[in-house]
Each structure stands twice: as structure tokens, then as C-alpha cells.
């Protein structure tokens, strides 16, 4: 009797251990990374092929193997269309047994893939998409939002500009979810700091001619013109502002989402004086320079924050797999959240329970042509914004994963 009970107990223990072991193994004997990014569209310069290079660098730097199993890289162009992204993510999950979806440049594609991840429990490492919804009302247990979000951009640029005396604002807003999200976040920051929003004009997305909107912004008499848009919309708006003498007229431009690739394409004579917030700048210190030079040697361009963020997020992901010996989504993300993030990209980084990777952000100003000593010497870092100040406080979060005490 006693013997039988022991036997049963042993059997249960064995079964449990076996279960745990199965849980802890690497599925299909490979760690599969699926990059979904914009390889050919409006955002391919700030993400695109550069993201693939960054991921290849990360894989090479772990010797092509994690926890003794090879890392396999898949990539696809989501063309900034939610349906293509969702379709590919589902197929990769079902057929290719991909373990993590990486990058996702627009909010629409990110939300679509997160919807799939809700069902199949895969890891989503978002770098390119910006909406703060990703870790706020739409947060998801296996998603980590790595590089930046609209809240941090608003907090960084918005409050800095108001403190410098830019009290009255007028927005040029791309007429879609991301633009409106950004405008809302910035307006809140401006008003909290004692500033005032005089008006906004929603422009069609994408728009090519901004002269009419710039005229309206000029007519508003606001001290600051906030550009709540991205990519070619931002560069076109800045060009038009330059032509119509906005800065000479005493108004200031605030690019709310400006990538180094945008500044490069505008050229310093046009972009100079722009205040912006970024999650990464290649020329910040020796560690950033060392990595960025390696990236430059492969691509001929300095990395944007999105590209650097992809490398950083993958290294952290690999580390968590190494530590747990598993590529099971929830297990790995749990480990990632327990481990602090500290590398060339992220300073004082940690992943919160809502999936937000909180790290130091930088407030920068675009240099004047005379100040720029070398190619790609574009930014003057004005201030380091500590992560906890930059990102939405957990107390205000609407994410159901955040336990309110």
C-alpha cells in the first residue's frame, strides 16, 4: 500500500518533470526569428534592409547559435499593410514555427501581429511602430515595445520646447491613427506645462504639398509648429516651412518624430535647428560609436534608432533563451522582464509588466552646417531624459496586465 502510494507519487513527479522539460526545450531544434518590416515603402530607409542587417549582426554576435541550437532568420516585407503583416505572421506561426516576430514599422501592422500573438503566444519585439497604444490599452503579455513611443516623443520634445518659451502651438497632423495619437499626447504635455494649443490642421496621408498647411500655421501666429507626422510627410513639411520662411518669421518647428535618415535626406541647411527626441544616437559615446561603425561598414549609413533597437532587442531575447533554455513565448518574455537591459543602445533599461522597455531617451537639436565636423555628425544632445520620466507612468496605465495596488 505504502509502496503503491510512493510509486504513484513518483509517477506524478516524473510526469511533471517531463512536462517541465518539454516546456523548457527549444522547439523544432531551432530558434526562428521572423522580421516583418517595410522593405520597399515609405519607411524602408528608417527600418527596412537596415533592420535585416542589424538582425544578422545580432545572430553573428551570438555565433549563430542560442542554447546550442541554430538561429534561423526569416524576413518579409509587410508593405505597411496590416493584412499582409497578419497573414504572414499567422503563416509563419503555423507553418514555419517562427518563435519571434521582430520590428513592425507601422502601428497598424504591429497591432495586427499582436492580435495573432494573442492566439499563438509567440514573442513580438516591436521597434519601428510608435503608438503608445501598444503597451497601454492594447498591451499584450508576449509583446515587448523596445525603441520609443509617441508618449516619450511628446514628453521629450513637448516639454523641452515649452520650457524654452514655446508656449503656443499649432499642429500639422497626419490624418490617421498614429498622427492623431501623437498630437493628443503632445497637446497634453504642452498644456500640462502651461502652454496652449491654438489649433491644428489634419493633412491627408501621405501628402506631397505642404505649402497650404504651412500658410495656415503661419497665419495662426503660434510660436511653435508641431509636426505630428512621420517619414516623407515630415521631410516635405520641413522643406515647405523652410521655403516660406517660417523660422525667419520667428516661429519654431518641432519635429515630433524625426529619424536620422530624415535629417540625412533633408540635409543640414534645411533641417538645422530642429528639436527632436530620439531613443538612440550613433555618436553618443564609445559604445554607440563602436557598434554604429560596424553597422556603417555593412550598409554605408549610420543606424537609425529603429535599426539599433532591433539589434538590442534580439540580443536581450537571445540572452533570455540562453538563461531559460526555452523558446516558449511566455517563459522567455518573463525572463526578459526580470533581466535589466544595459548595452550600447539601452541605458538603465528595464522591461515593465506592460511590455514597455523603459530606457533613457535623448533630447537633441540638429546642428548647423558649420558645426557639423564629419558626415552624419548631425545631432547635439541637449539632455538625457531618464526612462522613468520619458515613458508613461504605470500608475496612469490602462493596460490590464498592470496590477494596481
Amino acid at each position: 500500500m505504502h509502496f503503491a502510494r510512493t510509486l504513484a507519487a513518483t509517477a506524478v513527479t516524473v510526469a511533471l518533470t517531463a512536462g517541465a522539460a518539454a516546456h523548457a526545450a527549444i522547439s523544432d531544434d531551432a530558434v526562428k526569428i521572423g522580421i516583418l518590416t517595410d522593405l520597399s515603402g515609405t519607411y524602408s530607409d528608417l527600418a527596412g534592409p537596415g533592420v535585416v542587417v542589424a538582425a544578422e549582426m545580432a545572430i553573428a554576435d551570438v555565433g549563430g547559435k542560442v542554447a546550442g541550437k541554430p538561429v534561423v532568420l526569416l524576413k518579409a516585407d509587410h508593405q505597411n499593410k496590416a493584412d499582409i503583416a497578419a497573414n504572414k505572421a499567422r503563416e509563419w506561426g503555423d507553418v514555419e514555427k517562427v518563435d519571434a516576430y521582430v520590428d513592425l514599422v507601422t502601428t497598424s501592422t504591429a497591432l495586427a501581429v499582436m492580435e495573432i500573438a494573442k492566439q499563438n503566444q509567440k514573442v513580438v519585439l516591436i521597434s519601428g511602430a510608435g503608438s503608445s497604444r501598444i503597451t497601454n490599452e492594447d498591451c499584450n503579455p508576449t509583446t515587448v515595445h523596445w525603441t520609443y513611443d509617441t508618449y516619450a516623443l511628446a514628453k521629450g520634445t513637448g516639454s523641452a520646447v515649452v520650457k524654452e518659451g514655446g508656449k503656443t502651438w499649432f499642429f500639422l497632423t497626419a490624418d490617421y491613427a498614429f498622427g492623431q495619437n501623437l498630437q493628443k499626447d503632445v497637446a497634453a504635455v504642452v498644456e500640462a506645462n502651461g502652454g496652449k494649443v491654438l489649433g491644428a490642421v489634419k493633412h491627408p496621408f501621405p501628402a506631397s504639398d505642404f505649402s497650404s498647411f504651412i500658410l495656415q500655421a503661419q497665419a495662426s501666429g503660434a510660436q511653435v509648429i508641431g509636426l505630428a507626422n512621420a517619414g516623407s510627410d515630415t521631410t516635405n513639411a520641413i522643406k515647405a516651412a523652410n521655403e516660406f520662411g517660417v523660422v525667419q518669421g520667428g516661429q519654431k518647428l518641432a519635429g515630433l518624430l524625426v529619424f536620422i535618415s530624415d535629417v540625412h535626406s533633408l540635409g543640414l541647411p534645411v533641417a538645422q535647428g530642429l528639436t527632436l527626441t530620439t531613443g538612440f544616437y550613433w555618436d553618443y559615446d564609445d559604445k554607440t560609436r563602436e557598434w554604429s561603425k560596424r553597422f556603417f561598414d555593412k550598409t554605408g549609413k549610420m543606424p537609425t534608432m529603429v535599426q539599433a533597437g532591433v539589434y538590442s532587442s534580439l540580443m536581450h531575447y537571445f540572452k533570455a533563451i540562453e538563461a531559460t533554455g526555452s523558446d516558449d513565448g511566455p517563459t522567455v518574455v518573463k525572463k526578459m522582464k526580470e533581466t535589466p537591459v544595459e548595452d550600447f543602445f539601452a541605458r538603465n533599461g528595464k522591461i515593465r509588466e506592460d511590455g514597455r522597455m523603459v530606457h533613457d531617451m535623448y533630447l537633441a537639436e540638429v546642428k548647423k552646417p558649420a558645426e557639423s565636423k564629419a558626415p552624419w555628425d548631425y545631432y547635439k544632445i541637449l539632455r538625457v531624459i531618464p526612462g522613468d520620466e520619458a515613458y508613461l507612468p504605470l500608475a496612469e496605465s490602462k493596460c490590464p496586465l498592470v496590477k494596481k495596488s
Binding site: S40, D209, Q216, F244
Partner: protein, 294 residues
């Protein structure tokens, strides 16, 4: 005097800006109308050819040291020659077929050209500096207008009027009109019609390229710059009356102004207003404002 609580100078300046866009619409729809008149082909590649014009100017400046003024002449010639090559090798095989095949062929060509340029140059585009002589603003009393924009209006109006005069008043124009009316009869009179068709296509394409060069300093020189514009220009041509030269010029400029006014009153609708007008025009006058009912 305020309209919708918007001060008059603001409205005036918006109308001027609208006129600038209208200049591009007019140049592009003029080219389309000329091509359509003789070849009966809707040139879907027109947007891509406009983009090629801008890129040709950019290439010239970047690699060959060709300045803006030379590019204004050379880029349209180069792109026009490319257009003639397309006409000779591809389009000319389709004249016996349904005209819709021309539309489909040029649609395919537009996909190829734009796709290759995206692959080669990325999407965000390259800047093109405004020529020295045209920098800085002009004071119009109610607004500061950049000199370059004024230049765009002047050039396009002059080019459009010149084209119209050539077509309506010269012998060459008479051949062209005759060819539109009845190409076989014209051939019987000893005119080399195939050559004329090739040259006409080349000329229409060159006009698109000219618009591209004019646009280069205003917008980023980017592979996708023509792809959405082309749809608007189609609408302009439909409203003006397909194949009508004067119709395309007047409608182009007019719609630019209307679009400008919409941007003040209801900016989100500015992309749509032209299509709304098109629907109304089609209901009232199916042949377009200046078109003849066939």
C-alpha cells in the same frame, strides 16, 4: 472682410498656392490630353515619367554638373526620347487592339519604373536645391511668396499657352488635329503618321518630365512622387473633357485653385474634392466641361 472667419489675406494666399498646384495639374493633363488625342491611349505611366524628369534633373546636378537651367531643357528631351523608345518598341504594337490594352501596358510600365527606382534609391527621396537666382520670397502684399513658386506658375502658363497656340494656329498643329480626326486620310495626303505619333508621344512625355523638373526643388525627388498625383490628373482630364487641349489647361489651373480653397475650409477633404467635382460634372455633362459628345 472675413469668410468662414478666415481673414481675406489668408484666403488669397491659399488661392495662390492652389494656383501653383494647378500649374502642375495643367502641364500634366496637357501632356495626357495630347497623347490621348492622337494615340487614343490613356498614358498610365505619365506619373512615372514625371518622376523620371525630376530624377533626371537630380542625376544631372549630382553626377554630371548640369545645373537647373540646363536640366530644364535636357531632362525633358532625355525622358521624351525614352518615351519615344517605349512607343516604338511596345505601344506601337497595340494600335490595332482595343485601346484598353494601352492603358494596361502603361500601367505595367509604371509599376516597373517605380519599382526599380524604389529599389535603387529608397523611398524618402533626395533634396534638390532651388537655383540661386530664384531663392528668397517676393512680397505680394498679402503674403510672402517664394520666388520659385511664382516662377513655376509663369513657366507652366507660358508653356501651356504656347502649346495651345501651336496646336490651334500652326500647320503642324493642323496635322495633329487632322491625325486625331482621321489618321488614314492624313496618311493618304503623304504625311508620315507613324512618325508623327511617335513624336507626339515623346512630346507628351517630355511635358510630364518638364513638370517633374519644375517640381524637383519644391518636393523631394522621390520614386513615388508621381504615383498618387496621376490619379488626380486623370480626374482633371475627365472633368476637362478627354483629349481637349484647352479643357485640360483651364481645368488644371481651376481645380488647383478649388483644391486650395478647400484646404482652408475643410483640409481633410482636399484630396477628395476633385473627385466629387468629377462625379457632378459627369452627371451633368458626361463628356466633360470642354469635351465634345461623340
Amino acid at each position: 472682410m472675413d469668410l468662414f472667419n478666415i481673414p481675406l489675406p489668408a484666403i488669397l494666399s491659399q488661392l495662390v498656392v492652389g494656383l501653383i498646384n494647378g500649374s502642375f495639374y495643367a502641364l500634366l493633363s496637357l501632356g495626357l490630353a495630347i497623347i490621348f488625342g492622337l494615340l487614343n491611349i490613356i498614358n498610365f505611366a505619365h506619373g512615372a515619367q514625371y518622376m523620371l524628369g525630376a530624377f533626371a534633373a537630380w542625376f544631372g546636378l549630382q553626377y554630371l554638373g548640369i545645373n537647373y537651367w540646363v536640366a530644364l531643357l535636357v531632362a525633358p528631351l532625355a525622358v521624351g526620347a525614352f518615351g519615344m523608345l517605349l512607343e516604338r518598341t511596345m505601344l506601337s504594337r497595340l494600335y490595332r487592339e482595343d485601346h484598353l490594352y494601352g492603358l494596361l501596358l502603361t500601367f505595367g510600365l509604371a509599376l516597373i519604373i517605380e519599382g526599380l527606382f524604389v529599389q535603387g534609391f529608397g523611398v524618402s527621396g533626395n533634396p534638390y536645391a532651388t537655383p540661386e537666382a530664384l531663392r528668397g520670397p517676393v512680397n505680394l502684399g498679402f503674403m510672402m511668396l517664394p520666388k520659385y513658386r511664382l516662377w513655376v506658375i509663369v513657366v507652366s502658363v507660358v508653356v501651356c499657352i504656347a502649346c495651345w497656340l501651336v496646336i490651334e494656329r500652326t500647320k503642324l498643329g493642323a496635322y495633329l488635329r487632322a491625325g486625331t480626326e482621321n489618321p488614314r486620310l492624313l496618311q493618304a495626303f503623304g504625311v508620315n503618321v507613324p512618325l508623327m505619333i511617335t513624336l507626339t508621344y515623346g512630346f507628351g512625355v517630355a511635358l510630364a518630365a518638364l513638370a517633374g523638373v519644375l517640381a524637383a526643388p519644391i518636393f523631394q525627388v522621390s520614386p513615388k512622387m508621381g504615383s498618387d498625383l496621376i490619379i488626380v490628373v486623370f480626374a482633371v482630364v475627365v472633368i476637362g473633357g478627354m483629349g481637349s487641349i484647352l479643357g485640360s489647361i483651364v481645368t488644371g489651373l481651376g481645380l488647383g485653385v478649388i483644391e486650395g480653397a478647400t484646404k482652408v475650409v475643410w483640409p481633410e477633404a482636399s484630396n477628395t474634392v476633385i473627385f466629387v467635382i468629377m462625379a457632378i460634372v459627369l452627371l451633368v455633362r458626361p463628356a466633360g466641361l470642354f469635351g465634345k459628345e461623340k
